[in-house]
Symmetry: C2
Subunit: 199 residues, 2 copies
DNA sequence: CTCTGTCTACCTTCTGGTAGGATGGCTGTC
DNA sequence: GACAGCCATCCTACCAGAAGGTAGACAGAG
């Protein structure tokens, strides 16, 4: 508990970036071993199996995501501003290429070949993100800041799907700007210019 | 050239469904061998390397996609109806679970770990799909059937991203209906009820 | 008699995983 | 303070199986 970055943290961070690049079957213990500078067997000491490693990694990712949402709830008042910051977060990640894809979105695409335990964590992330977006949209609609054409839930699902699709397109084109092109209009549509003055 | 379904066609079809399930690193020659009922070595006779197999597979997928778009251009007059059929095609694929994901969308998510030749084909698909959607939206806007809030290109990118995101969500939730929930409003937004009468 | 498609048999490298030994810090006891 | 024991971490060495791929034999069709 002494140093800020323990070996197991390093392993998790490394595995995360490898998963973001290529998914569950896109990396091996040997890859981590190369990057972290540790033997394969030592990784097994921290995470007995690959499933353990990835389950832990996704669980931690989920915690961070929930913490991020809670933070937006506490520190940001306006629903529109909350969504803007959420999208802005990803725009920054993609632009600086630090983590240009959501771990759970990537893993979800391979759900059929994922170990069950990992799949469950991935699904849970989708549910919790969708639930938060739903609550933000609902509040925005109540306050008259958003004009929803559907139920908050449906709009939230569409919002989430579009953000994920925008990540994919940015990767496919190899152009971070496309993420902004796709997500920008999303916010404008929810809150037409006439309602945006107060934000 | 005698039978309608040659061995190499069977291999391609099998590989396609395996890729749709788990991506490039999610299947092996042995998996195909099991399904098709042929030895691994025989697969190598048709496709010397895995890269050959997947490149061919994606190239063929692209041909089919272009043929599908050309077909819509020829046989369907209204831009709105074209988009409706495009979305409906995927809705059907997802509902009957026959091919519940776009091969290129799935591969695009793993672009960083894809062999370069495959990556090029995948990108080409994104460009051609986006170009077709742009032209459909442009035509619809000219004819007054669509109300675009952005350039046709930007709307096309958003449309494509949302469809891909909807596939992902349907998979994540394990619920085909979510695809319709997300994509339905897409069309309504482009062509508000007041303009939809004629379609 | 060649060419296509399939086979068996084999190779090399990678993969996730295990066994067991060295090191070194922490704790409890005298 | 010295010492024993314990435990966490990392190591070397190994394993079985899966990965993609090759060599060469055989059968049948043209």
């Amino acid at each position: 508990m002494s140093n800020l970055s323990t070996t197991s943290d390093e392993i998790l961070a490394c595995a995360r970036s490898l998963i973001v690049a290529g998914g569950y079957n896109g990396f091996s213990y040997a890859d981590i071993s190369d990057v972290v500078g540790i033997r394969k067997a030592s990784i097994h000491h921290h995470f007995p199996s690959k499933v353990d490693l990835v389950r832990t990694l996704v669980a931690r990712y989920r915690e961070e995501a929930e913490a991020g949402m809670a933070n937006l709830e506490r520190q940001v008042s306006g629903p529109l501003e909350q969504l803007r910051l959420y999208v802005g977060y990803w725009e920054a990640c993609i632009t600086d290429a630090s983590a240009p894809f959501c771990v759970c979105a990537l893993l979800a695409s391979q759900l059929p070949v994922l170990p069950e335990e990992v799949g469950l964590e991935v699904r849970a992330h989708f549910r919790s993100l969708s639930a938060w977006l739903t609550s933000v949209l609902e509040r925005g609609a109540r306050h008259g800041q958003f004009q929803l054409m559907r139920t908050p839930r449906a709009e939230a699902e569409a919002f989430m799907a579009t953000v994920h699709g925008a990540m994919l397109s940015a990767r496919a084109y190899g152009d971070p700007k496309i993420f902004g092109v796709v997500t920008g209009p999303l916010l404008e549509r929810l809150a037409p210019a006439s309602l945006q003055i107060r934000s």
